[in-house]
Symmetry: C2
Subunit: 343 residues, 2 copies
């Protein structure tokens, strides 16, 4: 289902270096995705079948102002990868570098969807059991109420069209269930979401509900969502690591661990952030995927496949149609929220 | 070491009801703590040795304005428990009910420490491995920069005097390591903390660092800290639950699980929030402890023992002395930040 899709990939920005991304690209290409790989050609090796290397050695530095950095680096790998999507040479982009740079490059070169206030990063939370979509996990550290209200509709649309959840239950992340809990922003968004139509709104949810199965979609500003997602991923990995350590703590435990190993593999997979491939950057006219910079080649291959599946499934078009049907798009008469104040 | 200490306990507010708190009080009293137990006497049974029951059936409702609710309920169990500390009849208080009510009752009846801007809830993060102190985990959903700066010193003092960490490394929770990451509040606090003396400041840390061992103390506003702690606790429990489920997924796995069980017990204990007993409410003239409302009798007994150990170890006096030595107290000439705008 990913055949015929072209994904533009930024090879810079991975903690393990461009060659790791190239290895991931090779794996994804072997499954039928066409990859345009932008990065330092001298570090990317011989291109694998289905991978076209575009020499773009420069990378955007992590900077105070990603929008300015992106403007100042038109030849950087991230800008060139995103521009390939804007120009129609690729269908989606993948970058594990600075989220702010990816967002700024996307806003400049792919443009936001009509009626969209702000793009948001939507992640499938890697916990065992019920799948939860969390957004925003880092595109916007600071938001206005109308942004979070639209994120609620974007998350519901994504959950519905991608995960097939019939009427996704949408909650707002806060420090308590009561409508009066949270910051002034959260209280205002709570009031607005309680008044909208066309959303299966369940009220405030807490950090606990990222695993409780109470909500299908959890809405947060990009600061809180980023902290929560990383805390959750770290806790799962630390717990699994402690289980592994316990399973080597003596002869008896070692034997038990060996016998349990096959059954534990599914747990390991469920909590491994690399499996999901990263977060969708939603709200642009084409799809972006942002994997963690620390991912290995496996995670980058999953990110490219996630992007390709998203293109095949028309995540952008169907999400936008769902937003339109719900009346959640900004009226076209309203002044454009043009300045990309990216996180 | 907890003998001779009296802890005032609010029996209302626990999800499992007042009798569960009474059972926890009995366990703590059996270890030498004297407990004044405030709640509905008809639900608390016959007092255990070392437990004195004070009939206080009324509880403060979870309300939009906890300060007003506390003022309106002078006979509620939480207010009477806290007042017992203010009056010198008890050394510390424990309440698993509304955090906002506990904070408001504390501010009215125990008063904040001289030079303290705002009390904060400081929790030992329940992850395997390196212990981390996270504050604020819910006392103040909205804060000013000077509050977070003082929280940094309070956390360092606690880590040093309670956990014996020689020069605790202090980080600020953000969505990225760079000084430019985060909300306007976080960027301002980052700049201020980078300029202070007497703190082992390591800069911004991410959600991942709640388990990485990079920091001994992590500072956050009460909204973000609450979400992060709950997300982390939920993820650990969900992962451990999935491991348990895997260990019953077949005959071979079941046998492996049985052999591994003794070794896994320490992991279970490390990630069990009930073991820590809850969070210290720091910054008042006497100590408070806030356990999760969902705790069982075991968690409540741990909360009472935590309070008693904190009194024996003079956490309040030593923390305050450390704040004073670091010059982190508010000058006495400054206008009092008196209005308790509690979360």
């Amino acid at each position: 289902m990913t055949r015929g899709v072209t994904v533009a990939v930024d090879a810079n920005g991975a903690d393990l270096g461009p060659a790791e991304v190239a290895a991931g690209a090779a794996t994804a290409a072997a499954q039928g995705v066409r990859v345009l790989l932008f990065g330092p050609a001298d570090q990317l090796g011989v291109p694998a079948p289905g991978v076209e290397i575009v020499d773009a050695p420069a990378s955007v530095a992590k900077a105070a102002d990603p929008a300015r950095a992106v403007r100042a680096s038109p030849d950087s790998s991230i800008v060139r990868a995103v521009r390939a999507v804007g120009d129609g040479r690729a269908d989606a982009f993948v970058s594990g570098g600075s989220t702010g740079a990816a967002l700024a490059a996307g806003l400049f070169n792919v443009k936001r969807g009509r009626g969209v206030h702000r793009p948001a990063l939507a992640a499938a939370v890697p916990v065992p059991g019920h799948p939860v979509t969390l957004l925003d996990v880092g595109a916007n550290a600071e938001v206005r109420p109308e942004h979070l209200v639209q994120f609620a509709f974007m998350g519901a649309a994504l959950s519905s069209v991608v995960l097939g959840v019939a009427s996704p239950r949408v909650g707002l992340l806060s420090n308590g269930e009561e409508a009066t809990k949270g910051t002034a922003l959260v209280r205002e968004v709570h009031a607005q979401l309680a008044a909208v139509r066309g959303l299966n709104w369940i009220g405030n949810v807490e950090g606990t509900d990222l695993t409780s199965g109470k909500a299908d979609v959890i809405v947060a500003d990009g600061f809180t969502g980023n902290v929560a997602l990383k805390a959750l991923e770290a806790a799962s990995q630390a717990t699994l690591g402690a289980v592994r350590a316990a399973a080597t703590s003596g002869a008896r435990a070692r034997l038990g661990g060996l016998m349990l190993k096959p059954a534990l593999r599914s747990v390991r997979d469920e909590v491994d952030p690399e499996n999901a491939g990263g977060a969708y950057l939603l709200g642009l006219r084409h799809l972006g995927v942002v994997p963690h910079g620390r991912f290995t080649r496996y995670g980058f291959s999953q990110a490219i496949l996630l992007a390709a599946r998203g293109v095949s499934g028309d995540v952008v078009g169907r999400t936008h149609a769902a937003l339109e049907a719900a009346g959640a798009l900004r009226p076209s008469t309203q002044a454009s929220d043009a300045s990309p104040s990216v996180a």
